[in-house]
Every structure is written in structure tokens, then in C-alpha cells.
């Protein structure tokens, strides 16, 4: 795949590491999370068939994390306006 780094432009996927689903917030107060809520944070992630907001890091390049939306069926990538959103 060709991954659009918001800084470096399109680069081969071998330059990147995958960060899974985007917008998964660390619990504001882990201590008040019960076991089930904590387990959701640690182990459960979206796994959609279709468009997915996900994170990549340009590990062999500028080392920046960013977001994009990729279709998990066609691998078509839509850069998002919030690409520089890193979570």
C-alpha cells in the first residue's frame, strides 16, 4: 500500500508501522474503571469491515503518528482533515 504521510507525502507501507484503530482514549481515571471497562481499553478495538479510522506512524521517516481512513475491503485510503490528530 501507499500510505499518505501528512508530512512526507505518499510512501510505501514498508516505511510505516501500523497503530490500529484511531481515537481510542486512555481512560481518564484508570483506577475508577472496573475490570470490564479496563479490559475494554486494553484488549478491545474496532475491527470494521469497510471504512476504518486508524493510526499509522512513519517509523522510517519523520516518526510522526497520524490518522487516516482506510477501507479494509478495498484498501482505498482517504486522508482525513484531522490527519495530524495522532490519537
Amino acid at each position: 500500500m501507499l500510505i499518505p504521510c501528512p508530512w512526507c507525502g505518499d510512501r510505501e507501507d514498508i516505511e510505516f508501522k501500523y497503530g490500529g484503530a484511531a481515537q481510542i482514549a486512555y481512560p481518564a481515571n484508570p483506577d475508577s474503571a472496573d475490570d470490564a471497562a479496563w479490559a475494554r481499553y486494553v484488549f478491545f478495538r474496532p475491527n470494521p469491515k469497510g471504512k476504518m479510522a486508524e493510526r499509522w506512524v512513519h517509523s522510517a521517516g519523520c516518526r510522526r503518528w497520524f490518522n487516516l481512513v482506510r477501507d479494509t475491503v478495498t484498501h482505498e485510503i482517504t486522508p482525513t482533515p484531522a490527519a495530524e490528530e495522532r490519537r
Binding site: E12, D35, W38, V57, W65, E76, I77
Partner: protein, 847 residues
């Protein structure tokens, strides 16, 4: 000889000698092996894989299902694609390749290319597409699998790069095209990123399915024309044409002008058919017509229509639809930035009456070949359908049709038509099987390119490597690094060397290259807060000029990595990581910093390769350091454990750290890697009067285990918490850190978790194997419950005995008890101890 007196794009002035199955023949420059064999009247080129039936050249290109040959160590080549070369030695195959283990002489290259427009296929459609694309000044690549363009190659503008003998075999996401180039000395793999891909890949002619349709002498009609016109070869003397379409119209005159008698033209559209063929050891002799007439011939030219070559388009998830008019599947809709042109797009101009099978004379379908390479017949397909199969994929898997190295290029659409006919489904509803890369077979060697031998994976080396090599080190792979494992002297074995190296570290002074440790420079006003969140322990109180050991967990609470964190100055820190964990830890830190804690102002910079690091270890290490750095006070009050100093010796700038991974008095000396070798040599020279001894990773492991220091990845395996390791002391209760919440889960609070323990074999000579399991019952004849395992085990020169570390269920409750280690055929008893065997009070470390 069946070489025509004139014609063809071959060079008759350059005869080429070659051998086939041990016989010597002669062809011309420009011949393929297939054309040269036909020119020499060699009709049987191979035998079929299942039935051993004789087979001859069937096509003139990469779709060839029959003429599979061995050329030296190259196996399963298509005679239709092997360019004739002086001294070529080829042999028949029986449908299976023969691998040989001859030393590699060929070279396989790999190259990236970029262009605005890539045109695949150098026929008229492709050529004109390339020409018009080039007008804008864009970079254009025009690629064809033949050694010459099937169109005028002159006059192409200079911004068109023409790649011949190059077959595009894969179209991947966002127009990455992989292509294989055949080169005289091997091959080259092209990886081309193209903004636009133009597929002008033409169409494959398909045969007709009738009884005994596989004999040598039966060729695709278009291939016959290619042999006549391009190679100047007559593939027979008396020909019959069997067709269902009018693309074969020019064939008769081509045959006649080559001096080949045209015995009959059998056209399904005129309700004619060939229902069987006869032959002998040399191939086709006659055909039988519906109605019983028999016609003698040695050449049968068949055409059942054309299949657009849409493999690349379809690989990239392009949709196909069935076109009733031309009886073929053609592109339906568009792929982004891909254009399909000409015959590949189903742009035909001929009339055809589809025909998927021609009944024989006796109701037997077992010699109606559909897939010549895999020897699949109509009878096989009937069996699949009768068993309940409806899906084309099931029929494929049941019969193996289309699974040969030709991937069904000539059989695929006939298969679809036949499944439709046998199950009563419309052909468009049957659909095709899925096209997958590669379009043509690609050798493993080509895909591997130059990533072989030492270049298979980077070898990472420290600046001190030349010394290690010169001094006979035996190396260990640690990740991508080569690290000295031990330094044997003379005839010493590993155990002897390690014992000696350990004694030197404990008794006088020893030296180790620790440059491979990961090193991360950390700066910023929030560095302390950052470290506090990353590590389980706190760094608030650590003064500038000192280091502190730190441990980190993943969110699941399990130990991830460890190392020493140095406080170098205001808002300036440096963290070391394990050798194997360096990249992962930096990634981990950056991920949290960038994605989760953007409010923290902290900057990370990898400095792993900037620093070379030398550990000087042992009771006399202070003397060595003093010799090298007379200006630095080295007494323990002035330079205490975990303190950091800056110094210089003989022009070498050095940062000194009083750090130990052995439990001995020890120093780590860091210098920019340019000076690494000089520093090492300086330390060796200074320590020489004291008998300074270089040591490797094995002695390092023994020394740290004697002190009960863990190694992440050895004592831990992703299932171990700090508490399990007896390291609750390093887990802060006062501040949050990653993984903290997981330590409160039910499972991590279980009393019966496994704990790190020491293990002393009752017989102090007995070395427990690492990985051995621990049980409570000496009698292991019945089913036993495993309650732990040995993580580290060594023979200790210092202790004068063997010892081990292990993870043991309720281990800390079992100190002083005996556990058992079942080995192959016997059981060894070991006493459970605290996981520390040496200098429990840290007297030596702090001395």
C-alpha cells in the same frame, strides 16, 4: 527441417546449436526453444503429469500448458518463452519440476521505478497508448514480455522507457506493479509505482474441447500463425483448422503460402465438428469428423474464441462480466487509475458461436482435455458436478483444474462454460475463479533478490567489532546485532572460556562491549512526569549526575523492558534499554508521547549508534579507571554507585557511569562511536598489568544471574508482572504508570501466581536445562502438574556449583523446599531459594 525458406523475425545468419533430451539441434537467433524444436520436427516436448500422454508445443507464449522443460537448474520453463542460446541444454519434464542443488551462479536483482504511466503490453494498442501518454512529457514505461515489440519500436520518444522480456505479474494496491525481467545472467524484479496503469495485455486464444484434443500437432490457431510468420517455421505439413469463429480466416492462406496443405476447415458455425483424433508416438495423424469422415493431417489448428487477458485487472479487484457477443469475460466498470485497452478490454471484431464441448463418438468424456497441464478432463468435471458441486471454486478444487503453473490461462474460460453447461447455469452467473498474483510463475530466487546470505537481514556491528574478530570471539546473534558470546583462548571450550571470564570479573577485572544497549535522549520540562508514567518506579528524587534502574510494563501489566535512566542535567535524561528492545521501547515512548500525552513537552532522540559503551567490571576496575582518568576521584564517596562523571583519556571524550550488571564494582565508559575502538584499546592497555579479560554475553548472563538480575525476555515472557519477579519494591504506589491498573485485576492478584525463585540442584554438578519444567512430585510416571520452569541455568565458577533461576507457582512460599525437574528418563531434585546467590548485601557493588 520445417524451417521455411524465408520470413520470420529470426536471424538466419546466426545459427545456434542446442541440445534437447541429449540430441543436438540447430536453431537461429531469435528462436524460442519451442520454435526451434518445431523447426527440427521435434513434436513431443513433454509428457503429461497424470496420464503420461505425449504433449507438444501448444501455444507461442506464456500461456503454454504443455511444453514444460528443464534447462540446467532452471525447472518448469515454458519452451515457448525460452530464448535460444548457444549451448542451451534442455530436457523434457513430465509436468513436475526437478529442483537441483547446484551452486548459485545466476544473479537476481531488484529495482524500484516510478512513472506517471505504465503501459503493460507492447502491441499496437499499448504502443499507441505509450506514445500519446509521452506527449505530455510524463515518464512512461512500456513493458512487454517478448524480446521484441510486436509493433514498430522505432520513433518512441525518449521519455518512454521500454522494458522487454519483462512480464508484469502483479498489480497491487495503489498501482504497484511487480514485473519479472528475464536477463541473460538471471533476472530482475521490477517494483513500479505508476500513477496510471494502462493494461494492453491482449487476449488469450482458447482451444476447443473434443476427444483426444491433446495430441502433439494440435496447436492454437493463432500460435500457428506466430510460428509461420514470426519464426518462419512450419509446425506441420498437412493442416486442418477447427474453429468456431472468424479470426481463423487468414490462417488458410498463411498455411498455404508456407507450403502446408490445408486438408479441411471445420467450422462449428457450419455445424461441422471434429469428434476425435488419431495419432501415434509422434503425435497427431488424423482427425475424425462428426459423421465419421477421417482426414489425415499432422497439424490441427484450433480456435474456440478469445479470453481478454485481464489477470492484472482482476487481481486488483476489477470486476468482470460475461460478454455474450464475444463469448468472453471482459472488464466491467473501472478501477481507479487503471485503464484497460484493446483486446484486454474485450474490444474485438469477430463473429463467434460459443462452443464449450464437442461430444465424442461413444459417450466417453475421459479424453476430452480441458486443462492440459493438470490433465483434467470433462469426465472429471462431471464427477464434481454429480457429487453436488455447483460453485466454480469447488469444481476447481475437486478436479485441480486451473491449478497448474499456467494457472489455467487456456483452460479457465472453458471450465466456466463447461460448469455452466453441466449445471444448467448461465455462464455469467457461474463467474470466473479468482485471479491471484503472479500472472506468470516467478522463481523464489527472483523474489528474494539480493536479500540472501549476509544481506538476508542487516548485520549490526559495534565500532569495536574489528577487535573482537581479531581476538577470536565467537559471536551470538542478538536481534540483528552480532555480539561476542565468549572469547576462547587456544583450545578452550565454551565452558572453560566462560568460567575464566566470570572469574576475571569477580576476582580482578574484565571488560565487555555493551554498545548495543538502546539509548534514548530525553529532554524537556515534563521529562520527569513522562518517565514516571512510562516506568513503574518514580524519578522525581533522582539528582542530576545519577542514574536509576527502571522497569516498564505494557498496559496489560506485564513486564516489557528495563534499563538504567540517567539524569544528565536540568530537563535532560537518557534512558537505556535492552539490546533487543531498543527500537520497540523508542516506538512505545513516542506513541504515548505523541498520541496520548501531547500535553507533555518532551523530546526523544535515539542515540543508540552515537555511543560506544565499554563495561569495566571487577574489584580492580577502579584501578583501571583511575589509570585512565587520573583527574577523576574514583573512591566510593567521590564517585558512588549510580553516579555519572565526564572525563577524557588520551584525547578520547568519555562519560563514565558507575553502573553494574554483574553485581561487582563496575563502570560503563561511553564515548562517541568514532572513538569506540580507541577507548576499548585504551582500557585493555590500562588493564593489561591486572590481566584484564574480555568477556562475552554468556559470562554476562552468568554474572547477572548469580546476583538474581533478570533479563527481560528470559525470565519474562509477556506473562510476568513485576510482583511475580519479587520486584514489588520498584512498583510505585504513589503515582500512575502504564499497566498499573492491570495489577489490580483478579488474575494478577492471585496468590498462586508463579514467582521468580532460585534453584539449587541438590547435586551441585547437575546443570538443569533451561526450559525444563518443575513439578512437586518426584514420581513422574503418572500425569504430573507442571508448576513452573527453569528460566536461566549456569555453572558458576564463583559458587563452585550449578544454579538456576526459575518461575515457580507460589515460589516465594516454597523457599527451602524441594522441587523436581523431570528430564529425559530421570528426575533431578533442586532446592528452592531466594533468587540471589551472590553478595546479597551489595557490599561488592557499593564498595
Amino acid at each position: 527441417m520445417s524451417r521455411l525458406p524465408e520470413g520470420g523475425r529470426i536471424d538466419r545468419s546466426r545459427p545456434i546449436r542446442f541440445t534437447f533430451n541429449g540430441h543436438t539441434y540447430q536453431g537461429c537467433a531469435g528462436d524460442t526453444l519451442a520454435s526451434a524444436l518445431l523447426a527440427n520436427d521435434v513434436r513431443i516436448v513433454a509428457r503429461s503429469v497424470t496420464y503420461g500422454r505425449p504433449r507438444g508445443v501448444f501455444s507461442a507464449g506464456s500461456e503454454e500448458p504443455n511444453a514444460l522443460v528443464q534447462v540446467g537448474s532452471e525447472t518448469m520453463l515454458r519452451a515457448t518463452q525460452v530464448e535460444l542460446d548457444d549451448g542451451l541444454e534442455a530436457a523434457s519434464l513430465n509436468g513436475k519440476g526437478r529442483l537441483t542443488s547446484e551452486p548459485e551462479t545466476a544473479r537476481f536483482d531488484k529495482i524500484y521505478a516510478h512513472c506517471e504511466v505504465l503501459v503493460v503490453g507492447g502491441g499496437p494498442a499499448g504502443r499507441s497508448a505509450a506514445q500519446s501518454a509521452a506527449q505530455t512529457g510524463d515518464r512512461v514505461i512500456l513493458m512487454d514480455e517478448q524480446p521484441l515489440l510486436n509493433s514498430d519500436s522505432d520513433g518512441l520518444p525518449s521519455n518512454v522507457r521500454v522494458l522487454l522480456r519483462t512480464t508484469a505479474f502483479g498489480l497491487y494496491d495503489q498501482n504497484l506493479v511487480l514485473a519479472a525481467e528475464r536477463r541473460a545472467d538471471g533476472g530482475r524484479l521490477w517494483q513500479i509505482r505508476a500513477r496510471q496503469v494502462v493494461l494492453a495485455t491482449g487476449a488469450h486464444e482458447r482451444p476447443l474441447v473434443f476427444a483426444n484434443n491433446d495430441r502433439p500437432g494440435i496447436l492454437l490457431a493463432g500460435a500457428v500463425r506466430t510460428y509461420l510468420n514470426r519464426y518462419g517455421v512450419a509446425p506441420g505439413t498437412r493442416g486442418v483448422v477447427f474453429t468456431n469463429n472468424d479470426t481463423t480466416a487468414p490462417l488458410a492462406s498463411d498455411l498455404r503460402s508456407a507450403g502446408i496443405a490445408v486438408a479441411a476447415i471445420i467450422d462449428i458455425r457450419r455445424e461441422q465438428a471434429i469428434v476425435d483424433t488419431d495419432g501415434d508416438d509422434d503425435g497427431l495423424r488424423a482427425v475424425t469428423l462428426a459423421g465419421g469422415d477421417r482426414i489425415e493431417c499432422d497439424l490441427l489448428c484450433v480456435s474456440g474464441g478469445f479470453n481478454p487477458t485481464d489477470h492484472l485487472y482482476s487481481q486488483a479487484q476489477g470486476k468482470l462480466r460475461y460478454d455474450e457477443r464475444f463469448a468472453c469475460f471482459r472488464p466491467d466498470g473501472k478501477l481507479p487509475n487503471v485503464t484497460v485497452l484493446g483486446a484486454a478490454n474485450g474490444e474485438f471484431d469477430f463473429a463467434i458461436q460459443p462452443c464449450w464441448l464437442v461430444p465424442g463418438t461413444n459417450g466417453d468424456w475421459s479424453a476430452h482435455f480441458v486443462d492440459l497441464e493438470r490433465d483434467v478432463t470433462v469426465a472429471d468435471m462431471q464427477r464434481a458436478v454429480n457429487a453436488g458441486m455447483r460453485s466454480i471454486e469447488h469444481v476447481k478444487r475437486f478436479t485441480t483444474i486451473g491449478t497448474g503453473s499456467d494457472q489455467g490461462k487456456t483452460s479457465g474460460i472453458n471450465e466456466v462454460g463447461l460448469v455452466g453447461a453441466l449445471t444448467g447455469q448461465p455462464i455469467g452467473g457461474v463467474g470466473t475463479t479468482t485471479y491471484r498474483p503472479p500472472y506468470v510463475p516467478v522463481s523464489f530466487a527472483l523474489m528474494a533478490g539480493r536479500n540472501r546470505g549476509d544481506l538476508f537481514d542487516p548485520i549490526r556491528l559495534t565500532s569495536i567489532q574489528p577487535w573482537h574478530v581479531a581476538h577470536g570471539a565467537v559471536f551470538e546473534n542478538v536481534g540483528q546485532w552480532k555480539r561476542p558470546w565468549y572469547f576462547p583462548r587456544h583450545d578452550e571450550d565454551m565452558e572453560g572460556a566462560v568460567q575464566r571470564e566470570c572469574r576475571a570479573a569477580r576476582e580482578n577485572v574484565a571488560i565487555m562491549d555493551v554498545s548495543t544497549l538502546g539509548k534514548i535522549d530525553i529532554q524537556g520540562p515534563d521529562a520527569v512526569e513522562f518517565l514516571n508514567r512510562i516506568y513503574t518506579n518514580a524519578f522525581d528524587t533522582l539528582k542530576v549526575g545519577f542514574g536509576r534502574y527502571g522497569l516498564m510494563c505494557k498496559a496489560d501489566g506485564m513486564v516489557f523492558d528495563d534499563g538504567v535512566v540517567m539524569h544528565l542535567g536540568p530537563d535532560h535524561w537518557l534512558a537505556t534499554t535492552t539490546t533487543g528492545g531498543a527500537a520497540a521501547v523508542l516506538d512505545w515512548m513516542e506513541e504515548w508521547l505523541q498520541t496520548e500525552w501531547p500535553e507533555l513537552t518532551v523530546r526523544l532522540t535515539s542515540v543508540t549508534d552515537h555511543w560506544s559503551a565499554v563495561a569495566v567490571v571487577g574489584p580492580q576496575s577502579r584501578d583501571v579507571v583511575h589509570t585512565l582518568f587520573p583527574a577523576i576521584a574514583v573512591d566510593t564517596q567521590s564517585f558512588p554507585f549510580m553516579a555519572i562523571r565526564e572525563g577524557e583519556t588520551g584525547g578520547i571524550p568519555v562519560r563514565l557511569h558507575r553502573i553494574t550488571f554483574s553485581g561487582e564494582l563496575a563502570y560503563e565508559l561511553w564515548t562517541p562511536s568514532w572513538y569506540g575502538l580507541a577507548l576499548w584499546e585504551a582500557v585493555m592497555a590500562a588493564g593489561q598489568p591486572l590481566g584484564i579479560t574480555p568477556y562475552g554475553t554468556e559470562a554476562m548472563h552468568v554474572l547477572r544471574a548469580e546476583k538474581g538480575y533478570i533479563i527481560c525476555g528470559q525470565e519474562t515472557d509477556g506473562t510476568v508482572t513485576p510482583q511475580d519477579l519479587g520486584m514489588g519494591w520498584i512498583v510505585s504506589k504513589k503515582k500512575p504508570f502504564i499497566g498499573q491498573r492491570s495489577h489490580r485485576r483478579g488474575d494478577t492478584r492471585r496468590a498462586d501466581r508463579k514467582h521468580l525463585v532460585g534453584l539449587l540442584p541438590v547435586d551441585g554438578e547437575q546443570l538443569l536445562p533451561e526450559g525444563a519444567q518443575l513439578v512437586l512430585d518426584e514420581n513422574t510416571s503418572a500425569a504430573v502438574t507442571m508448576i513452573g520452569h527453569v528460566t536461566s541455568s549456569y555453572r558458576s565458577a564463583t559458587l563452585g556449583r550449578t544454579f538456576a533461576l526459575g518461575m515457580l507457582q507460589r515460589g516465594r512460599e516454597r523457599f527451602g523446599t524441594t522441587v523436581y525437574v523431570p528430564l529425559n528418563g530421570h528426575v533431578v531434585a533442586a532446592t528452592v531459594t531466594e533468587p540471589i546467590f551472590y553478595d546479597r548485601e551489595n557490599v561488592r557493588r557499593d564498595s
